[in-house]
């Protein structure tokens, strides 16, 4: 669509290639419409998924540093701006915090470089897809690309934790009162449902040890969104998506709540762009979002 497509080095991470394929595919399809290409790093490893919170855990920084090195070499070779695009919130948090830690502590950087036997110079800036839309494309420009009337959609923007915290290191938005997803949904023309639980934790990795606790936390978030009138909830995090969506299979906990589809923000963007959503894995969600999309599709919507 655009006369000159910008290619941005992109780090997917493990989940994006498996459980969150629909997130990646919808993001890539939307990027094409907007006019940029997510250019996947050729040789990437797992980032480790969670950033080590204690200062002594240098070993936990080696995997993300290796990814930053890969990105740095790519950017230098191709003479492009040293940005690394991410979609998964865990990857974003881990890589962004590693970027911050190595920028602050040269000694740490030297130790890790020596261990990896590779040299990271510290040039890479980790960027989330949402951040790219806000700061480079601009939500006002995004609004001009919307093809579908989205005014019927009552959408709760759900942030979770790691997209925003710790603010000092991530710096994307205010962790207590964020607006980036609100503004994104505004640009799409949706009815934005502001609800108190938007930054509450869904239970995260606790799902592998105490799934019943995750069910309870997910219920509290969804009951809150429901009370404020939301019919769907969007997120940027595959673990939030999975916890909020899969927990609804717990019929005891969710006895008094109707199923609420949990969408990735890019899946909704694809609907707003009027794209074919066949490959976006909507049918793999535990709570099927297709009836909602169907109910709201006017004559101009392509969503099946």
């Amino acid at each position: 669509m655009s006369e000159k497509t910008v290619r941005i080095p992109y780090y997917p991470g493990c989940t994006m290639k498996t459980k969150a394929l629909g997130f990646e595919r919808s993001a890539m399809d939307c990027a094409e419409v907007i006019g940029f290409e997510m250019d996947e790093l050729k040789d990437w490893n797992c980032c480790g998924a969670s950033y080590p919170l204690t200062k002594d855990n240098l070993m936990g920084l080696t995997a993300p540093t290796n990814i930053l090195i890969e990105a740095e070499r790519r950017c230098q070779k191709e003479e492009v701006d040293p940005n690394l695009l991410t979609l998964c919130v865990f990857c974003y948090n881990t890589l962004k915090r590693t970027e911050f830690a190595l920028g602050q502590d040269k000694k740490k950087l030297e130790t890790i470089n020596a261990f990896l036997d590779r040299k990271y110079e510290g040039s890479i800036r980790v960027v989330h897809y949402l951040e790219y839309l806000r700061d480079v494309i601009g939500f006002d420009n995004l609004a001009k690309m919307v093809k579908t009337d989205m005014s019927k959609y009552k959408v709760a923007p759900y942030y979770g934790c790691l997209l925003l915290k710790p603010q000092k290191e991530i710096g994307l938005d205010d962790p207590e009162d964020p607006v980036i997803l609100h503004n994104f949904l505004d640009a799409l023309g949706c009815k934005v449902i502001d609800f108190p639980a938007q930054v509450d934790c869904c239970g995260s990795y606790l799902v592998i040890r105490e799934p019943e606790k995750v069910s309870k936390l997910s219920y509290d978030i969804l009951a809150d969104a429901n009370e404020y009138g939301a019919e769907t909830l969007v997120t940027a995090c595959p673990l939030c998506q999975s916890n909020l969506d899969q927990s609804q299979g717990d019929k005891v906990q969710f006895a008094d709540l109707d199923g609420m589809p949990i969408l990735y923000f890019t899946q909704l963007l694809a609907v707003a762009f009027g794209l074919d959503t066949k490959t976006h894995k909507l049918e793999e969600h535990h709570i099927d979002p297709l009836p909602l999309l169907k109910a709201h599709s006017g004559a101009d919507s392509e969503s099946k």
């Binding site: 493990c14 509450d200 239970g203 990795y205």
Partner: protein
């Protein structure tokens, strides 16, 4: 209850501060961490820190509640004294894990749960519990 600081515990506590990079004595027990904690921890984060401030290392280390922390970082973000309870809790967990004392059992874990969980949950869960 009369609490007497234990000599050898003081050494463990300064080691914990070194490992986590946190200054435990900075905490002035305002309770904001506990108020915001979504994990319903008991003992709560501020209580765990108070144990450490009183030199009761074993009480903090052996508290079952440390395993319910999901590292959402609400406590760390809200602390007016720039202490990270989440980091201190992770430091305590690491002491168990480095002693080969894992908190999930791969043998008995539900295969169904593993099949449904995204990779990021499995990887970060294993890092926090094994």
């Amino acid at each position: 209850m009369l609490i007497n600081p234990v000599e050898k515990d003081q050494k463990h506590i300064s080691d914990l501060e070194l490992a986590t990079g946190e200054t435990i004595s900075d905490c002035y027990q305002c309770g904001k961490c506990t108020a915001g904690c979504p994990a319903s921890m008991d003992p709560a984060p501020s209580v765990l820190i108070q144990f450490l401030k009183l030199g009761q290392f074993e009480l903090a280390k052996n508290a079952e509640s440390i395993w319910s922390c999901m590292a959402c970082l609400t406590c760390s973000e809200r602390c007016p004294k720039n202490v990270s309870p989440a980091a201190i809790i992770e430091g305590l967990k690491n002491l168990h894990l480095r002693d080969m004392d894992p908190r999930v059992n791969l043998e008995t874990m539900s295969r169904d749960l593993l099949a449904h969980s995204p990779q990021m949950a499995i990887i970060s869960g294993f890092r926090k519990f094994i």
